[in-house]
Amino acid sequence: MIVIVDYGVGNLSSIVNMLRKAGGDVAVSRDPATIIAADKLLLPGIGHFDHGMKMLNQSGLREALDRFALDIRRPVLGICLGAQIMGKSSEEGVMVGLGWLDITCHRFDVAPGIRVPHMGWNQIVKKRPSPLLDTMSDDARFYFAHSYRMSCAQSADVLATAKHGSSFVCAVQRGNIMGTQFHPEKSLRHGFALMKSFVELKHT
């Protein structure tokens, strides 16, 4: 079962809808035991970095999430803020992230023709093979809505990049831990393909 972590942040119903459409057996939970027992986790998130971390720390799920991601090591997919908080910190706030990945988040620079937030559809460029993106079609495009971008200390963690002014990291993976800056749950058939890959992802 794929468990969507309910820590009070994010558009849970959209994620449930898309995962179910992609054939996933899905539950929404804020119970540590259910989270530990999951086959896969989905960490949602929309909004301010500090609000996300505050809600997560208050949820009482921190220990279960760390154990799942770092010890049990089954697949975890973070979306948008859910991906950013897997990192260490963000210029958006002062809170410390989960620290699973060596990621820091920085605000986009406003430049001529470049408005912030980065809002809308964009193409992505695969940087290395991954089950998550390997089924992606040539015309794939994904929906973004964010003012802060991820930056990876280790380039091996970068799965894909996109361009808004300059190039930025839009998908990451280190082992079982994966994240997308864009919203697969809102990216029509392209997001459906990604979610289907996540649903069908094999793990040991």
């Binding site: 558009n11 909004g47 301010h48 803020l81 937030p117 193409q123 015309d139 809102k186 997001g191």
Partner: protein, 253 residues
């Protein structure tokens, strides 16, 4: 790939969809849930739903209806109409909308946007301006679905919205609404040159040519329309439609 979002704006009145002319004379279009299914198939970039009587009826959003709509949508969606509290905003996000649109409440509760932004981030909060041209050709802001004039100037209001932290601004020309006489390019230019967040042109679009003009001549980041996506032909026969990706990619950046 074209990045300019092309956004159908769908007006809710009761449980149905309507289309207005200059914010008046609502024509019944059909069932919102069915329309969302059609826009899914046509791969619309984004949908905007505005409940046009929520504010005047002094009620909040129709959460039950919004849940049904969100349950069918696999593209980004924004909702506006009757929002006055953070609690309502939270519920709308939980249902599966990514953005809320604040219009009237900007005037009545200047703290609302700032409060929402510190929780949900700028990218989730959209400001909407309803703008009318006076007989002297000056722009004035109106609220409550066009009923009341607001004393603040366009420029000052834009500065306030950006300061409060909105992540996007929809500029809606009331005089063009439903007329399909083209966007008010001067108005859109005035807005897009005053702010650094994305600007969505709305009001008057009749063709892809109008989209192109809004982007190239007026600096819009995205284009929205109502009539264009729900009517076809000179007699305005109701038919949900959306241009093909190939057609959009050919014309829009």
């Amino acid at each position: 790939m074209n990045k300019t979002r092309v956004i159908p704006v769908l007006l809710l009145r009761g449980k149905g969809l309507v289309k207005t002319v200059r914010f008046k004379d609502p024509t019944y279009i059909g069932d919102p849930i069915n329309s969302v299914r059609i826009f899914n198939e046509k791969e619309a970039d984004e949908l905007v739903f505005l409940d046009i009587t929520a504010t005047s009826e002094a009620r909040g959003p129709d959460f039950e209806l919004l849940a049904d709509i969100a349950g069918e949508a696999f593209m980004p969606m924004a909702y506006g109409g009757g929002i006055t509290s953070l609690d309502q905003i939270q519920r709308i996000f939980a249902l599966g909308f990514e953005k809320v649109i604040i219009d009237t409440a900007v005037y009545t509760d200047p703290q609302l946007i700032h409060g929402a932004v510190t929780i949900y981030g700028s990218q989730s909060i959209v400001g909407c301006l309803d703008v009318r041209k006076t007989w002297l050709g000056r722009y004035e802001l109106v609220s409550h679905a066009g009923k009341f004039k607001q004393p603040v100037s366009l420029k000052a209001h834009l500065q306030a919205l950006e300061r409060q932290g909105v992540g996007e601004i929809i500029v809606n020309a009331v005089d063009r609404d439903g007329t399909q006489s083209g966007y008010d390019l001067k108005l859109i230019r005035e807005v897009s040159s005053s702010v650094r967040v994305p600007v969505v042109a709305c009001g008057g679009a009749s063709s892809i040519d109008d989209f192109v003009a809004a982007v190239h001549e007026a600096g819009a980041s995205a284009v929205a329309a109502g009539s264009l996506f729900v009517f076809v032909g000179p007699h305005r026969a109701v038919l949900i439609n959306y241009p093909s990706r190939a057609e959009l990619a050919l014309r829009l950046p």
